[in-house]
């Protein structure tokens, strides 16, 4: 990363990730991203309303294929993300350390936990049905069963934890077959952009995860009121008034809403099932039994 004396480094342009491609913001805007210590790190794309809408279109387009992929396949794709992420561990450690101003050891712990979280969720793809589905002993001659199904397109406002927090809110959404539009942590978006490069090279179909950098207060209202978004996770919304406004807008088409936590969660803790279940519907099928 550092400029050596004998060679001028090639710096990376940080762009959006929409529909499997890396466009700039259609608005042409960028914003300065600084390290926790104030150093200039990069110019990130400042996503607009139009970018958000494009991302929703891409997510909707990807939903059919991703939600009907086999659970085994989705599990393998998520595991592949962990593999590729592991291969770029050093890069993420440096980016997380820069972004969050934490010591190298702490950054390493977070990156390791993020990799392990992909592995953990990868394993859920073909188990959540068995844990959360049921066969229902109805009082009549019917075979009756309930299965979890993905809700659809989810909007995710990622928390401040630039990689581990991000992975902890994205993986549970996509593992079950949802697709998503993610608004990266505004102050620390670079690990998210690098993660999108990992996703793009990990067999995750384009459009399954779409990642926007910019201001949550500007982009999130468009996602919250978008009629083709089925759910919204407000994990990274720290302004209570904005959270209320977003939840109210989400009611227009009765989105499933995950409210912001009362305080920043411990992202290293066991995540439990809540975030996966929040983006699942239960479908019950009745079939007669007879000859």
């Amino acid at each position: 990363m550092s400029d050596r004396q004998d060679r001028l480094a090639v710096r990376k342009t940080y762009k959006l990730y929409v529909g499997g491609a890396f466009p700039r913001s259609e608005s042409g805007r960028t914003y300065e991203v600084q390290a926790a210590d104030g150093r200039f790190l990069a110019n990130a794309a400042l996503a607009s309303r139009k970018d958000a809408r494009d991302a929703v279109v891409a997510a909707r387009k990807a939903f059919g294929g991703w939600s009907s992929a086999t659970a085994y396949n989705r599990g393998q794709v998520l595991y592949r993300v962990a593999e590729v992420l592991e291969g770029r561990r050093a890069q993420f450690v440096a980016e997380v350390a820069d972004a969050e101003g934490v010591k190298r050891g702490a950054a390493e712990r977070q990156v390791d936990a993020a990799i392990d979280r992909w592995v953990w969720y990868a394993g859920w793809s073909d188990k959540v049905h068995q844990v959360h589905g049921s066969s229902n002993p109805v009082a009549g001659p019917y075979f009756d069963f309930s299965v979890p199904e993905p809700t659809g397109v989810a909007a995710v406002v990622a928390p401040a934890s630039s990689l581990l927090g991000l992975v902890s809110v994205v993986a549970p959404v996509v593992v079950t077959g949802n697709t998503c539009v993610v608004v990266a942590a505004e102050a620390a978006p670079l690990p998210a952009v690098t993660l999108s490069e990992v996703l793009a090279t990990s067999d995750v179909p384009g459009g399954v995860v779409n990642l926007l950098t910019g201001r949550a207060a500007e982009i999130a209202p468009w996602l919250a009121s978008h009629m083709d978004v089925n759910a919204i996770d407000l994990a990274g919304v720290t302004d209570a008034e904005l959270a209320t406004e977003l939840e109210r807008a989400a009611a227009d088409n009765l989105k499933r809403v995950v409210r912001p936590p009362l305080s920043e969660p411990d992202w290293e803790a066991d995540p439990g099932l809540d975030r996966m279940l929040a983006f699942l519907e239960t479908k019950t099928v009745w079939h007669p039994v007879g000859i």
Partner: protein
């Protein structure tokens, strides 16, 4: 109707079994009490327009009292009981419902207008079954898959509709109490009487005061309940529009929310379906309970090659339906629940004609008094027609056709709702193919409108969120 092959002598169920008081108070803290700031209103029999009783539209101070009673009961009694004892109370309630089942069925039919055959054979037995089912969960919550010691939410505010008054009460109260919550429940303004009868059942069961509170009233009462800062949970069954308002109203609070809202279900009939069964299923899908069913099969999608034959059979079958006195045991179609609802059904049906669909009803004499609407079907309906898009909540069926399974699927899913769907075909693999792809919370294959306490029920998309019934139904009342 009744002019077909057979004429039937009237066979009315006796009303003598019910004893309706001239007026009722609010059921708060274990007693029927006079309102503080509520105002009286009348509840009528929709089949005769006879005034049945006077009940209270609870005011904000009444809601305060009810919520306070529920809180005291939660903190002081209910949350300290063992699951086993909570379960035993629920078993008592189930048994009392069974013992008083005939009375409850008659009362439901009088206040709601639904045929006694349905209240007697469907609603009330399901009410008892629901309490019986959740009673058994009360001491097994640690095994329900929500962690070893799941906690209740606290005080639940519950608002239910008029189409299945006592059944919706059971769907709300049974899981809430099993999970350890206390409740304030508001029945619909036009159907308060069975909820007040249930209040009496709570007393007979010696349920601790304040665990169940019943506040009658209309929209204002509901709003006061939803907005009350003292409740931890809102559960609502009703229209999508009111559901939206409630979702907006709880935004920014920590109140948990589940919503069971409207629907516009597709009932899809393929060319290999057993047609006689399909006809019965279509009739049950849209004319059960006068079509006052959120999951009603209000859009019939029939494969083009059998459309004519199916419609012929369907029309013949509609000609044999008997509309009239809800208390008559031979009645198939009862009264529309209220003049407002009747007006909405009339209005949307008129729009259906204006937009170019063809309207048909069997020859059908409507009683002189009361609110009635004949079974009606529209053919030549397109997806753009309002009668194909909007919930009518009445005995009105919109018929569309399709050629391929993919087209059927596309049309079925082309709605903001996602509560239920039906598929009729002899081919098992096709049933499962369709069931996988229909974006609806309940899919009935070669049957329709089946309900069971063990079977999770609830919607996708704008039909709401959360499930009622089964293990899944506990989640709505646990802090998970």
């Amino acid at each position: 109707m009744g002019t077909g092959m057979f004429d039937y002598a009237p066979a009315p169920e006796s009303r003598a079994i019910v004893d309706i008081a001239p007026s009722y108070g609010l059921f708060i803290d274990g007693e029927l009490v006079d309102p503080v700031d509520g105002t009286p209103f009348k509840t009528v029999n929709p089949a005769t327009e006879e005034v049945l009783s006077e009940v209270v539209a609870a005011g904000p101070q009444d809601i305060d009292r009810a919520v306070a009673a529920a809180r005291v009961a939660y903190d002081g009694t209910w949350s300290h009981l063992t699951g086993r004892d909570r379960g035993k109370y629920l078993y008592r309630l189930a048994r009392l419902v069974q013992e008083r089942s005939r009375e409850l069925a008659v009362l439901e039919s009088i206040d709601n207008g639904k045929p006694i055959r349905e209240s007697r054979d469907v609603d009330v037995p399901l009410v008892a079954a629901h309490f019986f089912y959740y009673a058994g969960w009360a001491d097994k919550l640690g095994y329900a898959g929500f962690g070893p010691d799941p906690r209740p939410l606290g005080v639940a505010g519950q608002i239910i509709p008029w189409n299945f008054p006592l059944l919706m009460l059971a769907w709300k109260i049974a899981p809430a109490l099993a999970a350890g919550n206390t409740v304030v429940l508001k029945p619909a303004e036009t159907t308060p009487l069975t909820a007040l009868a249930f209040a009496d059942i709570c007393r007979q069961a010696d349920l601790p005061p304040g665990v169940v509170n019943i506040v009658t009233g209309a929209g204002d009462t509901g709003r006061a309940l939803v907005e009350h800062p003292g409740i931890d949970k809102v559960a609502f069954t009703g229209s999508t529009e009111v559901g939206r308002q409630i979702a907006r109203s709880v935004a920014g609070s920590r109140k948990a929310l589940t919503l069971e809202l409207g629907g516009k279900a597709a009932n899809i009939v393929f060319d290999d379906a057993p047609l006689d069964q399909a006809v019965e299923g279509i009739v049950n899908g849209i004319f059960f309970n006068q079509g006052h069913v959120c999951c009603a099969g209000s859009r019939l999608l029939v494969q083009e090659s059998i459309a004519d034959e199916l419609l012929d059979r369907l029309k013949r079958r509609l000609g044999t339906l008997r509309l009239g006195d809800p208390l008559d045991k031979n009645t198939d179609i009862g009264a529309i629940n209220s003049p407002e609802q009747l007006e909405r059904i009339r209005e949307l049906s008129a729009i259906g004609e204006q937009e170019g669909a063809e309207r048909w009803s069997p020859a059908c004499d409507l009683p002189d008094r009361g609110y009635w609407f004949p079974p009606t079907l529209f053919t030549g309906v397109t997806q753009a027609h309002r009668i194909a898009r909007e919930e009518i909540f009445g005995p009105v069926l919109s018929v569309l056709t399709f050629r391929t399974p993919a087209e059927a699927l596309e049309k079925a899913n082309n709605t903001p709702y996602g509560l239920s769907a039906g598929v009729w075909t002899d081919k098992g693999s096709r049933i499962l193919w369709m069931a996988q792809r229909l974006r609806a919370g309940v899919v009935w294959a070669n049957t329709f409108n089946r309900f069971d306490p063990t079977s999770p029920f609830g919607g996708y998309k704008e039909s709401g969120f959360g499930r009622e019934g089964g293990r899944h139904g506990l989640e709505a009342y646990l802090d998970v």
